[in-house]
Symmetry: C2
Subunit: 676 residues, 2 copies
């Protein structure tokens, strides 16, 4: 190959790379080739479908047209937009009806030419994913809306791509569940794992055992009609709904109406606090299994998915240890530990589930050699347990690393791969890793702010489950996430809206801007630090400033991206934008003080605002030094670190993530080599 051609080729690749970088797809497709030119979207758009899709496809196509219409403001005519594929500018070919179940074909191809769009897929599930891709591909310029010319070949990396919502610790109403299903569909997730029973509530109407919800839910539960409605809604969007009934622990709410289920006599109250509690189902009584026979028969009919999740986590064994009948039973049957007793219980439950045509899945703790490897292990405690299970022939899914209730950065979840490149598992063992689930435990969320805890981070996790493992550039993920954020709102998610409404309530009619500037630079304490910081109960209104702060402080994310760019390129524009941000934070103190002066609701974050001011002014000084190449010595650096560590101290359950970058700057300034 002549040198000239070689350089031309490089130029084309760079150009294409350049194009690709500006696309805002999430999850990123398996294969993409970008061309030149555009397909312009205007009112002449005509769509034709051929082949044999399931009937769920039509409403999805109608919603696609409506969303396209909303965004472009074009009033497509419902009587003429859908026509015969022969004359259509957008043709969708679907081979056969899909079934919403594990392992169904969800692949698709998309070809966009300047006057034709062609979608092909085995099942309508693939085509539905493709419609979501198209909505993400819609771009605009001065004169029109358009799709970039390109070709996409796309299919999921993992078959099980889930989001768990805990509807128990705080009740999450049906309309919130539904809009989250829409958002899941947007980012190609396909399992809603619905956590339906807990110490704090039994949330399902049961006709077999009505005291479960009548006495165990404080009046907040899902009716069977609502559940059917949610399942239909999800199925129409290609999403499975798997219920979880957590047994034998985490079951206090069951015992309010049915104390005979417990391993200790007495009366029970719906739990208000959070944690691990003693009430545990008695696995030694025949009546227990008669109860589950009837209940799981009812629930198996209500939830048509082939999997049923039985929880099984965090049984502390206290009630079992104290109950002489249970101890006697164990001795008599040669059961040596509580873990073995739980395995005995699980085997009995497994029989019941099998009878009802269900496959069993449960958390790590159900993994016991006596259980057949038809069960699925849901790993929450660690990747090792999951790999161990895979080696022993069990299928499994991963949630460890995807606990979105812990306020961690999107990047941390994003880089957590169920099957990392260096995995020691054999191909057969790897094939047993079905996928994963983001888990939204609900101690510190409620209907008002749950969307802002799930999204946008779960979009990054969705990419991990769908896209090839080597799509893992964190900065590019954050860049795309910023756009996906707005698309999630279009899908109905209230993650942006709810925060500002919460701030308006806190500010009581005053301009929220100073509070927003503060919260956009602050993050809730991570891990379980918040849970332990107060005697939280289900009655806490979750309406404090921390409840409106995000796991990824958006303005600090922006600062970090600018700083990373600046370090690489010494870009002046990035430098000046960073200075603007720092100045905004410094100046915010005065405005915030005047906002908070007469408002007891904001009192607890005045110190946080002071700290942000101080931290931002130190950071500004350091940044200017970096830009001018003026180093600092070790002593100065250590002094600054002490000061920054003070400013990092949590205030009102929040911290200032800028401090990490400030510390980086000090290290950079101390180490001359890194500065050039």
């Amino acid at each position: 190959m002549g040198k000239k051609y070689f350089y031309l080729l490089i130029a084309i690749i760079l150009l294409k790379g350049g194009y690709a970088q500006t696309l805002n797809l999430m999850p990123w497709p398996t294969e993409i080739k970008i061309g030149e030119g555009q397909f312009v979207v205007d009112k002449t758009l005509k769509i034709g479908v051929e082949g044999n899709p399931d009937k769920r496809f039509h409403p999805n196509l109608v919603r696609f047209i409506q969303q396209l219409s909303k965004r472009t403001t074009i009033p497509f005519d419902r009587d003429s937009v859908l026509i015969s594929p022969v004359d259509a500018s957008m043709v969708i070919k679907i081979s056969r009806p899909g079934i919403v179940k594990l392992g169904e074909d969800e692949s698709y191809t998309l070809k966009i030419d300047s006057n034709k769009i062609l979608i092909t897929s085995q099942t309508e599930l693939g085509a539905m994913h493709c419609l979501q891709t198209l909505l993400q591909l819609l771009e605009r310029d001065k004169d029109s809306f358009y799709f970039q010319r390109l070709e996409i070949n796309d299919k999921p990396r993992f078959a099980w791509r889930g989001l768990m919502i805990d509807g128990c610790r705080h009740f999450i109403p049906v309309e919130v569940i539904k809009r989250n299903i829409d958002a899941m569909a947007m980012v190609k997730l396909n399992v809603l794992h619905w956590h339906l029973s807990e110490d704090q509530g039994f949330r399902v109407e049961s006709k077999a055992y009505p005291k479960l919800y009548l006495m165990g839910s404080n009046g907040e539960y899902y009716t069977q009609e609502q559940i059917k409605d949610v399942i239909t809604y999800a199925n129409e969007r290609g999403i499975r709904v798997m219920p979880e009934f957590d047994i034998p622990g985490h079951a206090t709410a069951w015992m309010v109406g049915y104390p005979e289920l417990a391993s200790a006599s007495g009366s029970y109250k719906v739990e208000k606090f959070f944690g691990v509690f003693d009430p545990t189902i008695d696995p030694t009584k025949k009546e227990t299994y008669r109860f589950f026979e009837k209940l799981f028969k009812e629930m198996s009919h209500l939830f048509p998915d082939e999997y049923m999740h039985i929880g099984g986590d965090e049984n502390n064994g206290v009630q079992w240890n104290k109950n002489p009948n249970i101890q006697e039973f164990m001795k008599k049957n040669g059961i040596k530990s509580n873990h073995e007793l739980q395995a005995y219980f699980n085997l009995k439950i497994l029989e019941i589930l099998k009878k009802n045509g269900k496959k069993m899945i449960g958390w790590d703790e159900i993994f016991q050699p006596t259980l057949p490897n038809s069960i699925v292990i849901h790993s929450w405690r660690g990747r090792e347990a999951m790999e161990d299970a895979a080696k022993k022939g069990y299928q499994s899914i991963l949630s460890n690393g995807y606990y979105i209730d812990l306020f961690k950065h999107a990047s941390e979840h994003y880089l957590n791969d169920p099957l990392p490149k260096d995995s020691k598992l054999s191909p057969v063992e790897q094939s047993r890793i079905l996928g994963g689930e983001a888990t939204m435990w609900a101690e510190l969320v409620n209907a008002e702010n749950i969307d802002s805890r799930i999204w946008p981070r779960t979009a990054a996790i969705a990419e991990r489950f769908w896209s090839p493992g080597d799509i893992n550039d964190v900065d590019d993920m954050y860049r795309r996430l910023d756009v996906v954020n707005i698309r999630l709102e279009e899908a109905g998610i209230e993650h942006i809206k709810c925060r500002e409404a919460m701030m308006r309530r806190l500010c009581n009619g005053s301009n929220i801007e100073p509070l927003k500037i503060l919260l956009d630079a602050s993050e809730p304490l991570k891990g379980y630090k918040r849970h332990g910081s107060k005697p939280y109960t289900t009655e806490y209104p979750l309406s404090r400033p921390v409840d409106a702060a995000l796991s990824d402080a958006p303005e600090v994310v922006r600062f970090r991206l600018l700083f990373n760019d600046y370090k690489k390129t010494k870009n002046k524009e990035s430098y000046s934008q960073m200075l603007d941000l720092l100045e905004k934070w410094v100046n915010n103190q005065a405005s915030f003080n005047s906002l908070a002066a007469n408002n007891t609701a904001l009192k607890e974050v005045v110190t946080l605002s002071d700290n942000l001011m101080e931290l931002a002014s130190i950071t500004r000084k350091l940044l200017i030094q970096i830009n001018s190449g003026i180093r600092i010595d070790d002593i100065e650096g250590d002094m600054l670190k002490i000061q920054i560590n003070r400013l990092k101290t949590p205030v009102a359950e929040m911290e200032l993530p800028l401090s990490t970058l400030t510390l980086d700057m000090i290290n950079l300034l101390k180490d001359g080599n890194k500065m050039e």
Copy 2:
């Protein structure tokens, strides 16, 4: 009385007036006496109820506590906040269970002392109104949340205080209806008038005539379960739900499934356009009445309210005139006009309603001497018709002047009194004016933005229906409305949220600020000007900039209040705030241009942004002249007026309300007397 005492008294009254002015109640109570001191709200609050309320009271009290908790961030303990009234710090005395029907006692008294709150009411409906008053009274300072010491005696001026929602021209989902019911309760409205059939849709599931909704709704209708749910929801909040089935005109959607109802043969399609259409029910066929016998029997059971609204408006008579059978029938029965024929029809319908225990209500057009005065006239065309009806012994309600679909200012609706001071009606005739209804017709609203069309203006109308007629200070109303606005959001209304989400969609991920500044200074064209400006159909996505603009441009309202204050007091602070606003508008042009540069969705408002810049700079110049006392001569004034009239020209269905104030300024500058 000695002079000294006299002045002291004046001082106290002024002081009290000063206190009262800072209260943010809406509707304003009948009688209020402000004291000194406060009742502090903290976690020691204990509430006790005595007497005999209906069971609907308890959930209202629980919601009150939850809202109080949200706002104060205090986690009230559900097991201990409600106690025996003997030990409670807040006592509620209710004499008897109320019934949610026209004329029920809704009065209450409230006495707040520094350590005790006492509420008394005949029925729980009064106490529920009082809880809303309390939520509006909650204030805060640096250290605590509190209620001002005061006494209130309150009762409604009119018994019928309604909001009509048209769920037909655009379908309005149940969750939107429900949150609007919550907002209605907040401002003491008590009738939801649900407009359920139209040319564009028949929205109720009917088991008697299923083709009504199956063929007449494009799949968007309320199931009977949903309707029952809404009625229960409203009833729990003290609100009647009155259905409207609009006949014999506005009924195209009925004829899609049942063409035999029409006065012309042929097949019918659900209407997409808006206006007055020919399809009209045939009043001469026996089958018509058999149909209504069965349908209204079903609907009378579904909707328990004692009133049923039969519409009756805008029958254009075209089908009747053209149908020889109908002409023959009229001749044979001595019916001389279409109006008389409609009266004949109404009498037959009245019989059917009576048989089902319902009272009939309809729009102006049903008013005909042959109808008994047991019917209620709903006046939309003018106050005269209503007064005429009252004189002839008919009861009536007023909607003329409360058409909130026409994008008019809150002040205009606010000053429209069903019974103005100078009313010529006798006391007996006056007693026939039952009240009024705000009407939210849905040509140009949908589920996404309807909240921002109804609220906050309807709160001002609610005050008109509830408060004494002499509470009519427009500036004070706007001041209070600003706070009520945030409270409405707390009640669940998405009027603020939806606008910003719409702007984010329009701006496609860019900072919305320049668009927000533009839209906060712009208003949709008023009256029917927008309806006629485009061939609007039900398929328009209503996602353009105009759809996110408000009837009262909030920043212009602010400017007007500042200007009114400045004219009175020459207040320097007001002057400087006005200059800031004007500068913001002038500077916005550049930011807006850069936002719109690559965004076709914003192209249509670039000129509006240019005009705002030009108008604001003229206004700034005039304001500075006013402040310096530099007049302008007639010629200069006339030239400016020409320029301003050009800048007033509608752009993208919007106009700039600042122009009115600018014109005022010119007049002020031309007329030296007014300047001092």
